[in-house]
Amino acid sequence: MKTAIFLTITISVALLAGCQEPMNIDTMHDEGKPVMALDYRDFDHAASEMVQSMLGSGALRKADGTRYVMATGRITNDTMQRIDTDQLMAKIEQELLNSGQVVMTSAVGSKVDQTTYDIRRDIKDSDVEDEFDQNTLPGKGTLVSPHLSVSGKIFQRNIRYDRGHQQVEYYFQLRVSEIASGLVIWQNETLIGKRGSNRSVAW
């Protein structure tokens, strides 16, 4: 009898220990419960809606068939969470680039690639300048100025739903402006709302 009880306890402990193993998330078909904070599914959702709206609007299609140059402006995180807004923008930029309608620039905006300027400064008028094929060196006035800029913000509202529950609303807002005229040529908002226990933390 004692042996049987001991065996049952051992097996139960082993099974429970097995349940605590970490596992990879199936990000393609994640059937996990939603969480009160923003997770990757929310960013996927928001990015997908934004890109579809942008491409479907026709605002990014140039009449002459050439591509617009777009700079990424400021994307403000006005939520209670520490969010790298690149979680949203990297997906959107990737899709816009792949769409063939837009070229993103890293020469200006919030995503300046400093290497572009470092190389120009480091090579030009330095001892190593002669080592380079002069035809491949970037000259003055070769950077392309953007036609469009994309900017926006993510903000959060926490609302008391009832005694034990809260409602958290996350707003994703983006707009595309024509730099020459300052006119907004596209704008969209995606709302992701969550309702859950007060004990769930949304930051």
């Binding site: 959702h45 990015a47 997908s48 479907g56 026709g58 299609r61 997906k91 899709e95 769409s99 309608q101």
Partner: protein, 144 residues
């Protein structure tokens, strides 16, 4: 005999409830909004709900229309109907295929939420991520 009569009565009531809201109706006056009538009232409604759950009514897709947008990409318009008495929440994902039938990898092909109220039509549209997209395939799953 009494039981058979009751069953028959409910069956007839259900048939009428089913016919009450033809697809494509412009105006949909729901319970507690529109007038109750002989076939849709506080007595027959619970039976309708129970029957709907029993036979497992759900979503059906009636129409999928592809057209090109001003942006030069394909737009898929999906029109369907929720046959159930209950609001159906589900997720859908559209994947786009090129002229060779190969999948176009895109961050826009993710599971997106959709909700359709009971006995109602619903519509949503999806935009292709590239001009090369010529066809699509759509999948659905339960909203977790």
């Amino acid at each position: 005999m009494k039981t058979i009569t009751h069953i028959l009565f409910f069956a007839v009531a259900l048939v009428f409830i089913g016919c009450n809201e033809p697809p494509g109706e412009k105006f949909h006056l729901r319970e507690s909004v529109g007038n109750d009538d002989l076939v849709d009232n506080v007595v027959t409604r619970p039976v309708g709900y129970a029957f709907s759950a029993l036979i497992g009514e759900g979503i059906q897709v009636d129409q999928a229309v592809l057209r090109r947008t001003k942006g030069g990409v394909l737009e898929l318009n999906v029109n369907g109907r929720n046959n159930s008495q209950f609001t159906k929440r589900f997720r859908y994902r559209v994947e786009w295929l090129d002229a060779d039938g190969q999948l176009i990898q895109s961050k826009t092909s993710v599971w997106l939420p959709m909700s359709a109220m009971g006995k109602s039509t619903f519509s949503f549209k999806v935009i292709a991520p590239r001009a090369e997209a010529v066809d699509f395939r759509m999948d659905t799953r339960k909203w977790e």
